[in-house]
């Protein structure tokens, strides 16, 4: 995985001509071309990706709003036939479009972007972006219980990928275009650039890489600027006064974290159980699955819970301001899990970010209200618990703990609740991890027959270091300042074939028993050993370096000194080809976990 992220030299031959082969038609441009090396050009391109993604997401949001207004009307209506007729009929349309026109839009945008990064060399068909736009717009606008963030992420990634291909940039950069666009799309959808950057790093790229961080940040920021320009800088929610006064109240938030963790597991398991079973049904049923899901969701809405339809941001806002009693909050949380599971497993395109936040918000409000009923001295408002609840589900269900914390902070603009958020999210994340081995995104990719790397697995993987393969300091260390005959006498009693030579004033070299014997026989015994050795020093390693770094040298040198970082003349041990390979053999684990 790390190689594929390298921004310097690709081991693979490039299929397209790199940007450095630009033909300059005019003198002015040829002068300017000197300024734009590929790195600089990629950064500038990131800004454009952000702009285009931002524009696309603005249109996407308008499309969802327009569809909703056209199909369901401006007012929330309960007990109206439209509530179940519209999502059912829209489900039929969406299914037909997905099966016949946009077959690549099935599944999670996050995973498709990851697949583009790690498998398809950054390739995301532009048709996928268009398909996501149209089908998600219809599905979400008609009331399917899905959110616009994941499609926005994929629309951004699709635009970036198409632009990269159009510009014929190098494969290295093309591979990175998808996450850059994904960050832009997600940032625009959430109106939260920091969370988007963190999410893309946590879930798409899988590790911190300085080479791409700048581009991701630039694209995210520029897309948010565009969205705010057109749609205003109003946050997703009107944040009420949130308070955290006594440290003992953290227990209440820890309880919320535990409940949220259990709910996350239930949510993830229900999707994980139902999705492959519905996919395994005969193909003709796929025409009706989104329609049936829409019908059932509409029925729930018809029976008195229209809040579960669509992304549900308005209802979250109302929950944040204490508009629902705890029973209603708990019911909405359960119904949203059911509705989102139905929508997602039916193959209706759309994301799970907003539903996750919805479930967390309702659960947080319900748990908070119950806790405050039994412990009236708790000072946290319903709004505080709702906000913390959002982060809890994000951490437990999407398994993005860092993003979950920053998302709550960025959405609320209030750092006073950072400690409750961290505590609750940690409990939720740990509960979710202990009860559900595979994170939801990994589970979905595995169900689709792909194995993609994840940061969570990387974190768990123990990194082998040089010290793990290190042999003890050899008994015989030669000195470059001593004469050859003196050194030859010292090695007489040794059984080793190669000897490290300590150079003056610093550095290491190596000499074999045969070489030393030959020098002695050639009559060079009165020369210092250092004067006869080749001028290139032996490379040395530090004990804490990854063992991978030793691989570059073990074939060239029989012994490699491992030295102290503070004093390079102090030998900590040595590594050899055998010692390194033996260590890798003893640590062998199957690919894919």
């Amino acid at each position: 995985m790390s190689d594929s992220l390298s921004t310097s030299h690709s081991p693979l031959p490039s299929a397209q001509p790199p940007l450095s082969r630009f033909r300059a038609p005019r003198r002015l441009f040829s002068t300017l071309e000197g300024v734009f090396n590929e790195e600089v050009f990629f950064l500038i391109l990131s800004v454009f990706i952000g702009i285009f993604s931002g524009l696309a997401v603005v249109c996407f949001r308008l499309a969802i709003d327009w569809t909703h207004l056209a199909l369901l009307g401006p007012l929330p209506e309960t007990h109206s036939w439209r509530l179940f007729a519209v999502p059912a009929l829209a489900g039929l349309v969406v299914a037909a479009l997905v099966i016949h026109v946009f077959p690549t839009i099935r599944g999670s945008g996050v995973n498709q972007t990851k697949a583009a990064l790690f498998i398809f060399n950054g390739f995301i068909p532009f048709r996928t972006a268009i398909g996501k736009f149209i089908c998600s717009g219809i599905a979400i606008g008609s009331g399917q219980s899905l959110g616009p963030e994941d499609p926005s992420l994929q629309i951004g990634a699709g635009i970036a990928s198409a632009l990269g291909r159009q510009l014929e940039i190098s494969r290295e950069k093309l591979r990175l275009m998808a996450p850059v666009g994904a960050a832009a799309g997600l940032a625009a959808a959430f109106n939260a650039p920091i969370s988007a950057v963190l999410f893309v790093i946590e879930e798409v790229i899988g590790r911190w890489s300085a080479g791409i961080l700048g581009s991701v940040v630039l694209s995210a920021v520029s897309s948010v600027v565009i969205v705010r320009w057109f749609l205003g800088s109003e946050p997703l929610f009107r944040i009420p006064v949130t308070t955290f006064k006594r440290p003992t109240e953290l227990i209440a938030y820890a309880v919320l974290g535990i409940v949220g963790g259990l709910a996350s597991v239930a949510f993830a398991k229900s999707i994980g159980y139902l999705r492959p079973r519905l996919k395994a049904l005969p193909r003709w049923t796929q025409y009706f699955q989104p329609a049936v899901a829409g019908l059932l969701i509409g029925l729930i809405a018809f029976l008195g819970a229209p809040q579960i339809m669509g992304a549900g941001y308005d209802s979250m806002d109302q929950a944040m301001h204490g508009q629902y009693a705890w029973k209603m909050l708990a019911i909405l949380a359960v119904l949203k899990i059911v509705a989102t599971t139905l929508s997602f497993v039916s193959g209706a395109p759309g994301g799970m970010f907003a539903p996750t936040l919805f479930i967390g918000a309702m659960l947080g409000g319900a748990v908070g209200d119950i806790e405050r009923f039994y412990f009236p001295h708790l000072t946290g408002s319903t709004g505080t618990y709702v906000l913390v609840g959002m982060g809890v589900l994000f951490a437990g269900f999407l398994r993005a703990p860092m993003t979950s914390v920053f998302m709550v902070l960025e959405v609320s603009g209030n750092y006073e609740i950072i400690v409750p958020v961290i505590v609750a999210n940690t409990f939720s994340y740990l509960i979710s991890r202990s009860l559900q081995d595979v994170p939801i995104f990994d589970l979905l990719t595995r169900q689709d027959g792909l194995i993609l790397p994840s940061l969570e697995e990387d974190r768990d993987e123990a990194i082998l270091r040089v010290e793990d393969a290190m042999l003890p300091v050899p008994n015989t260390i030669l000195s470059a300042e001593e004469y050859v005959d003196a050194n030859a006498r010292r090695v007489q009693d040794s059984t080793e074939a190669n000897f490290l030579v300590r150079m003056h004033p610093t550095g290491w070299n190596i000499v074999s028993r045969d070489q030393l014997q030959r020098l002695f026989l050639e009559g060079k015994g009165e020369h210092t050993l250092g004067s006869l050795l080749p001028p290139q020093f032996l490379p040395s390693l530090y004990p804490d370096l990854p063992l991978d770094s030793a691989l570059r040298f073990v074939n060239d040198y029989p012994l490699i000194p491992v030295v102290n970082r503070a004093n390079s003349r102090k030998l900590e041990g040595v590594v050899s080809r055998d010692s390194v390979f033996k260590r890798y053999e003893s640590d062998r684990t199957p690919v894919g976990g």
Partner: protein, 389 residues
């Protein structure tokens, strides 16, 4: 089916950037146009919904109004008027859970325009719903000194009156009186304004202030029977029975059917006829009034005792009822009546009347509010106590 773009863009970095810039500008312009059209449609839809919400609010259908205002806000999320109306509907729906949301909307509006008097007034009303005197007073003051789009003077007066009513309801009479004094100095010269202010003074039990407001009304409209009756009542309540007689008599003359003023005038007359402490009567008359009051007190005590089933002749201990102790007191004081004429006994009238006042007050507490002369004596006692304080 495979879709692919034709290779449109030249392979020179500056040209690429130029083309991308042009594409971005074009996209920006296109989306601007789209958003403008969408916003125009939404705003039009929002206005219709807003009118519907106002109608629902006016008809006290707050649940419907809230839904409609919410829908209007989804059409035009930054519209201050919609937010304000939604906040008002949330506040007025009599659901305590909705106050938080109302406040949230209003705080957001207030942060954008802290000088907006309408927003401050709405926030003050939310604080008043919560019963927070401090917050309500602050926001009402902000509303009074804030910017009103129409009729600022009248709106400021209304805001202050609302604050006074809230303070009176919360029992904060001192603060209410301060506001009343400020209100009285800036009233428009209309009888209605002074009448309303007089009633507020009455609620604050500031009868002098009340009287001055009625006098102001009478200056503007000398024939106002309401002002005459109010002034009479205010003077009566403040213990100024001579002035009260004049106002009440005029009120009765102006409106023969004003039964309340008529009754008050009768009681007022009894007070004036029975009060031994008024300055313009002779010693003989004063002694006569004291003796009459003393006799009236005995009658009242006996009646009250009978009402409560107490036989003063057979009662065992004074601790059995305060009335028995008073009866003993009255019996002890009775011989003093004969010494009233003595010029040396300067404290005796007060001492005898103290017994009378104690009896009237205790019997009022035990047997209920008296009528006629007893009521007059009770009121005289209260006036006397107030004067001593």
């Amino acid at each position: 089916m495979s879709w692919s773009f034709p290779k449109l863009i030249p392979r020179s970095a500056p040209v690429i950037l130029l083309v991308l810039t042009l594409a971005a500008v074009t996209g920006f312009a296109a989306v601007s146009h789209l958003v403008a059209r969408y916003n125009a449609n939404q705003q039009s839809r929002g206005r219709k919904l807003y009118q519907r919400g106002l109608a629902d609010s006016a008809a006290n259908r707050y649940d419907d109004a809230i839904d409609v205002f919410r829908a209007a806000l989804t059409c035009d999320p930054t519209n201050s008027q919609y937010q304000l109306s939604l906040a008002r509907a949330l506040r007025d729906s009599n659901d305590p859970r909705r106050l938080d949301e109302a406040e949230s909307y209003l705080i957001a509006l207030w942060q954008r325009a802290p000088q907006d008097a309408a927003v401050n007034l709405a926030l003050a009303r939310v604080a008043a719903h919560r019963g927070s005197i401090e917050d309500a007073t602050r926001y009402y003051h902000n509303a009074m000194y804030g910017v009103w789009n129409t009729d600022p003077d009248a709106n400021r007066s209304k805001a202050r009156i609302e604050l006074i009513q809230f303070l009176l309801k919360k029992g904060a009479s001192d603060k209410a009186e301060s506001e009343l004094i400020a209100l009285a100095t800036a009233l428009p010269p209309t009888p209605a304004a002074h009448l309303q202010t007089a009633q507020l003074f009455a609620q604050a039990q500031d009868y002098a202030g009340e009287l001055s407001q009625y006098e102001e009304v009478l200056r503007l409209d000398p024939s106002s029977s309401a002002a005459l009756a109010g002034a009479g009542q205010a003077a009566y309540n403040s213990g100024n029975y001579t002035s009260a007689r004049g106002y009440l008599q005029a009120a009765v003359n102006a409106n023969k059917e004003d039964e309340a003023s008529n009754q008050l005038l009768a009681t007022n007359e009894l007070i004036l006829r029975n009060d031994p402490f008024v300055g313009h009567i002779s010693d003989v008359e004063r002694n006569r009034r004291i003796a009459a009051a003393f006799a009236q007190a005995e009658t009242r005590l006996d009646e009250c005792g009978q009402q409560k089933g107490i036989d003063f002749n057979t009662a065992a201990t004074p601790t059995a009822s305060p009335l028995i102790a008073l009866q003993s007191l009255w019996t002890e004081a009775k011989p003093d009546l004969t010494r009233l004429r003595s010029p040396a006994e300067t404290d005796l009238p007060d001492a005898i009347m103290d017994v009378v006042f104690q009896i009237e007050q205790q019997t009022a507490a035990t047997c209920g509010q008296p009528k006629g002369v007893d009521l007059a004596l009770l009121l005289i006692s209260q006036k006397r106590e107030a004067a001593n304080r």
